[in-house]
């Protein structure tokens, strides 16, 4: 409940996130208005928001309980549709806690129940106050079109085991990816980030990474035989994880220079690869060292030349070890 306490003393870097509206919020809002109108009729002039919300929650629970118990009584009587006597029995159950006139009579007719008499009296006494707004029928149910079956589209199902009344397959263009080359994926990524017009550090890093993998993939599979070579190359070009593993000695790799002094060296600026390592553990940073250097130099225009330079040299890694601030 929002009314309960004073202001929150915590520092918020971002403003409070907007509450996402669920499907039930519309109905809850309407119930709040209706309950407020009833309370106003009773004599209240203002409301505490938390109290109004609590009372409207209780009213909604009351409606749900009536529905549940009426449905239950109808089912017990062997019916699926509810009639007025089921509702009266449900109301008697709910009202039995507080008690109503003649509640102890076992054999009374339901139509003559004390509950009904009380309701009739209430309707006679109270004023007729309609709801303040006009409402549409809710919830709005969207017609979802099911996928057409093989019979409807006129296609033959691709297999004897598939009956014709099942929905037909989707267009093959939607799920085949091998036909698109490597260039298309990188172009699509850069096309995606261009409209944003602001290449953040993370975006530039990812772009570099992707192009590095592309170069690696094109150099990679030399040991694949026969007709699979073309396919493997194609697959490797678009997905670096499908590339065949390199054999020992196939690719020249520079020797790793272990950092001597770990405490006084420079700072790793890339916030994605922040590492607080005590030992000489460079395996992760080694892979991304060229990209980190690219980030530090901040020169993204000459990407091709940069890639070649990066692949040949592996600069030493500088990172700072420090005690992080615990807030």
């Amino acid at each position: 409940m929002s009314d309960g306490g004073g202001k929150n003393g915590k520092k918020h870097d971002q403003p409070q996130t907007k509450r996402k509206f669920g499907g039930n919020d519309f109905a809850l809002a309407i119930s709040k208005i209706a309950v407020a109108q009833i309370c106003e009729n009773v004599g209240f002039q203002t409301f505490q928001l938390s109290a109004l919300e609590a009372l409207s929650d209780v009213a909604v629970c009351y409606i749900l309980n009536i529905g549940k118990s009426a449905h239950f009584h109808a089912n017990i009587a062997g019916r699926t549709e509810v009639n007025s006597f089921d509702i009266i029995q449900g109301l008697e159950e709910l009202g039995s806690g507080l008690g109503f006139a003649c509640s102890s009579d076992v054999d009374h007719c339901l139509a003559n129940s004390g509950i009904v008499r009380e309701i009739i009296q209430y309707v006679a006494d109270s004023e007729d106050i309609p709801f303040a707004y006009s409402l549409p029928n809710f919830p709005v149910v969207q017609d979802c079109k099911p996928a057409p079956s093989f019979l409807q589209t006129g296609e033959e199902p691709p297999g004897e085991h598939i009956p014709a009344w099942l929905p037909s397959y989707a267009d093959p263009e939607t799920y085949v990816q091998l036909s698109t080359g490597n260039e298309k994926t990188t172009v699509s990524y850069s096309e995606r980030i261009e409209p944003a017009k602001q290449l953040t550090k993370t975006d530039r890093f990812l772009l570099n990474l992707q192009q590095r993998f592309a170069c690696n993939g094109s150099e990679g599979p030399s040991s694949v035989d026969g007709g699979d070579a073309v396919k493997a190359r194609k697959a490797a070009e678009c997905n670096p994880y499908l590339a065949a593993p390199l054999h020992f000695g196939e690719k020249e790799v520079s020797s790793v220079v272990l950092p001597g002094k770990l405490s006084n060296e420079g700072i790793v600026t890339n916030h994605v690869m922040e590492n607080r390592v005590v030992r000489n553990h460079v395996s992760v940073l080694e892979t991304f060292a060229p990209a980190i250097k690219a980030m530090k130099s901040g020169n993204c225009e000459s990407e091709d030349g940069q890639n070649k330079a990066l692949l040949n040299q592996r600069p030493s890694v500088h990172f700072k070890i420090g005690i992080g601030k615990k807030s």
Partner: protein, 137 residues
Amino acid sequence: MNHGQQSSDGKHDDDAALSDFLASLMDYTPTIPDELVEHYLAKSGFQCPDVRLTRLVAVATQKFVAEVASDALQHCKARQGAVVKDKREKQQKDKRLILTMEDLSKALRECGVNVKHQEYFADSPSTGMDPASREDQ
């Protein structure tokens, strides 16, 4: 046989009274709208195309809410009457009747609904401590 006839006549009267009442409900517009009641009844499994039954449920709910509200109003008025102050300004300000959580929880407790709300909210573990000990942290 006479007794049976009388009881059947009585039942007939009761049924007639109920059906008359249900018919009169169509003239009376409850404050809780029909669409809202239908939505929640559908959620609970209630199936009935008859509008009169929906109106019956709406009127019953309205009666319940009105009873709870009037109980809370009585608690509020009792609290205001108990406060006797010399300042007239405060008395005039207190004439406004506000539905508070306190009165509502007392009224709902009689119906069997337990509504308890927080007295206060603390935003950090050191809230409410002495300033001297707070500075140490």
